[in-house]
Symmetry: C2
């Protein structure tokens, strides 16, 4: 491939916006354009960036960053791979990702394209850390503690409850992989808070966790995209017990997801056709620059 990799951003929500930023900051990439359902909507997009309804309008595209809702990822990835375009997604349904990998692996091989799936921070770089800690201390227990930060999945679940105009669900770490939920709800006129609260407490997303529900006048002023995680492992290396490992991050959530997707786009251009999780790609492939220079600086 000559020159810079041409990247399309598919979908333009929080992650799509952050992905466009990360592509524009990458020295080895150029933003081919944005693909979205309504290409007339150019709000917040630089006038020089093409916005289209069909990727074919963008000319050569090497990698598509799929910034669409997670349930649309399988179908969208299949469509792009079938055109011979590499794909990167941040698919986050843990129980389904092995099936997605199998499906996309077949399509990628058939069309000489590469898919890198679940390329966010969890699943994603957190998965890489969990796997590393496991080979560093093969016996032991790992806890992944999320937060404090906004849970997209839990927030969407609350918003679906009748009478809720807007909502925010925060995940608060309670230790050893347990979590507390703080739910802020803004109600429709006439809705009954106690009824909504009961619905939330009985919802499968919440009923196993300690949950506090609070009514507020307005949810939007509370929203902050910061998030965090603390991964802990205590384990055994060889016959040495009490090996202690901690990994802590405090980050802007969509910005980190998007940056990992951009690194995975680069890595996709260095893999053979097929589908990969981040665990299956050498770390150096996510980085730009001369390989020996990277090794001298980082190893």
């Amino acid at each position: 491939m000559s020159g810079k990799a041409r990247i399309a951003v598919v979908g333009y929500g929080n992650i799509g916006r952050a992905a466009a930023d990360a592509v524009l900051e990458a020295p080895d990439m150029e933003l081919a354009g944005v693909v979205r359902r309504n290409p007339q909507d150019r709000a917040g997009i630089d006038p020089e960036v093409p916005v289209v309804g069909d990727v074919a309008q963008l000319g050569r595209v090497d990698v598509a960053l799929l910034c669409v809702p997670t349930r649309q990822v399988p179908e969208t990835a299949a469509a792009y791979l079938s055109k011979g375009i590499n794909t990167v997604d941040s698919y986050d349904i843990h129980g389904e990702l092995v099936n997605l990998r199998r499906q996309l692996d077949e399509i990628g091989r058939a069309h000489d394209a590469v898919a890198i799936i679940s390329a966010g921070w969890d699943p994603g770089t957190n998965s890489m850390v969990r796997a590393m800690l496991e080979f560093m201390a093969p016996r032991g227990i790992t806890y992944t503690n999320y937060g404090p930060g906004m849970s997209m999945g839990h927030t969407v679940a609350v918003k679906a409850i009748p009478g809720v105009r807007d909502a925010l669900s925060l995940t608060i770490p309670a230790g050893q992989g347990a979590h507390r939920r703080l739910v802020y709800v803004e109600l429709e006129p006439g809705a009954d808070f106690e009824t909504v609260k009961q619905r939330i407490l009985e919802d499968p997303y919440f009923r196993n966790d300690e949950t506090r529900v609070m009514q507020v006048e307005a949810v939007q002023p509370l929203i902050d995209m910061g998030h965090g995680v603390r991964i802990e492992r205590k384990g055994v290396s060889g016959r040495a017990h009490n090996q202690m490992f901690f990994y802590d991050i405090r980050i802007n959530n969509p910005a980190l997801t998007a940056q990992v997707m951009v690194a995975a786009a680069r890595a996709s251009l260095r893999q053979k056709p097929g589908a990969y999780t981040l665990l299956e790609v050498p770390i150096i492939d996510f980085l730009t620059g001369d390989r020996e220079a990277l090794l001298r600086r980082l190893v």
Copy 2:
């Protein structure tokens, strides 16, 4: 390859002992034996483990774990690779490892064998973390803070000074990648403490760091193989600043080095002939077990 991988441990100091333990604990490996200069010395080795002076006496060997002093690694690795045996080392001369990789890459390709170099915790798994943090936040600064723990290199430097019978140099993190050195010396009869102290303070290993030198009656009772590291990065993902990352470990030093070497031995059996650093090997290759089951559990 049918059955378990057969592993030889070459050299039997602190790391060799820990490596034998880690091989014995690995479900997919068996300890072919120990290779050492004096095979009559069986102190601390299980009677069932063969101890030999030449690896040819061990029958089939798939991987040799080179637990020899770092300066002997290039020559020892070349000799084993030339026999078609994979090698893993924990070579720790940062400035030279790119050259070592080139040399061993050529020899490995010529003899259908794989070398994984610098497979400890630094260089090694710390290098993997540094590289990950860099693709997660491409702009920013990473600090690697070592300790508190015993520095092998600094301890050896002190022991080489005339008048020193035994020594221990501790590395204490002083923040932002700077370190303080605490040096405990046990003197030969008649040696002058002030003279020894001046030699230490002027030594290239110490002269750039704040160093405290203390005389003790006996060094051995002070020695503890625990060590630690804290890697910190503050950086930018896309256009989001102030992304914060911390990685902290508190570990038995030779046990972790040995465990990483054992994981790298496993990974070596899954690479094409040549030489690799840990950054060039997919993380999943370091783990044992069914690949999809690993992905289900860890991603």
